[in-house]
Symmetry: C2
Subunit: 243 residues, 2 copies
């Protein structure tokens, strides 16, 4: 039998060992979590909007229903995050607004021009979001972590996209080159907007670099972005989109 400390790379010490009531006594930690929930909530709402929009590109009603299902799931996530903000006494809109420009910017820069681009975006977005939720969960108090993991548990609705993209590339290999470029552009734009957020939001960035309680440093946030990028690259290769 392993002890919990042996099974987890990050043992539950510092923030991770505290509940919200204890952790939020530190105003900087509290501000960081409000930022995080605001960013995630707006991200889910924006994802809902874009997926609903991109569903219009679907060639069949069944395809449209798949993307609409993802959109609907994102809306459910948005509601949980927004309700949590209200529960801790924050005005959800005020918490979300600082992140609107970056997320809207990302979606404006990456509007898919056809169904396959829409599918790749749905899959890439879903995967990056999952990776980020998983990374950030370890830096949170137990109550916020439970919420983040619950939302994470309900992601992964994009797996239908993998099969369809793979089939399209097999049918016409030339498509692969175009979609590989597209996937790189998606990741590049995501990183560029993430860096904008990190630069602008002190409390959130400080939490991400571990300035509040745990032992992360600035290099660690860079490593997190690197891990997410590497996971993305692996997924794209598996999909036949080696770049």
């Amino acid at each position: 039998m392993q002890t919990p400390d042996e099974t987890n790379a990050t043992p539950a010490t510092g923030i991770a060992a505290r509940d919200w009531a204890t952790a939020a006594a530190d105003p900087q930690y509290r501000a960081a979590v409000v930022d995080l929930l605001g960013a995630l909530a707006y991200g889910e709402l924006a994802a809902f909007e874009r997926l609903a929009e991109d569903a219009k590109l679907a060639p069949t009603l069944a395809d449209k229903a798949e993307l609409a299902k993802m959109a609907s799931a994102e809306f459910g996530h948005f509601e949980r995050l927004r309700d949590r903000l209200a529960e801790v006494g924050e005005e959800p809109t005020a918490a979300m607004e600082p992140f609107a420009a970056a997320l809207d910017g990302f979606h404006r820069q990456t509007a898919p021009s056809d169904w396959l681009e829409g599918l790749v975006k749905a899959y890439v977005g879903d995967s990056i979001a999952s990776d980020f939720y998983r990374e950030v969960a370890a830096r949170l108090d137990s109550d916020t972590r439970s919420l983040v993991l619950a939302v994470l548990d309900d992601t992964g609705h994009a797996s239908f996209a993998v099969e369809k993209v793979r089939a399209a590339i097999e049918a016409e290999p030339r498509v692969g080159g175009r979609l590989a470029l597209w996937a790189r552009r998606l990741m590049g734009e995501a990183l560029s907007q993430a860096q904008r957020v990190v630069a602008e939001r002190d409390a959130l960035s400080t939490m991400l670099v571990g300035g509040v309680a745990d032992g992360f440093d600035l290099a660690e946030v860079g490593r997190m972005f690197t891990r997410i990028t590497e996971a993305h690259t692996k997924r794209m290769s598996a999909l036949g989109l080696a770049s």
Copy 2:
């Protein structure tokens, strides 16, 4: 104590007294229900799309979330109706496609040009749909009726719109005239598309006029449209949109 026959205007006889397995032995009734489920499913999917689109017109994030919530609920209804089609051995896409032109036509002709038009459309659409679900439920076998009533139970998410539209008219009474015209146009377009469907879909129309088992006649379908129109007019008056 009242007996069920005394509490309901329409006693459970004919189709209403049968379950799906018994009722669907009649191929014309079966075709009518497949038509109905296909029309309702496509209607819910189209409503999801349009509400998600119209949510972009929202002046605040909270308003956007309200309309997005409706969209998400419509998607849930779509899933139940689609799953029921699959359950009775029908291909959902094939069942929905005959109704795409009429429903897409309705939405194309009634794209709101601003947030208030979007709110009125959400409320009018939700209310007309509820009325239609309630009307048609009485003409269905017990299993199909349960599904239709379950979906109906989950509608009514548009009540938030009432308060907002009323406040806008109070703030600027001139708005009322414009929205009253808009509401009439919505109802006119809905009736015109409904008549197109009635003209094109024999099995469904026959069921609606009672040709399968119960005692409805052609005048009855006209009366149903009249009842729905009257209910709409009353709601619009209550909203300050007397036309």
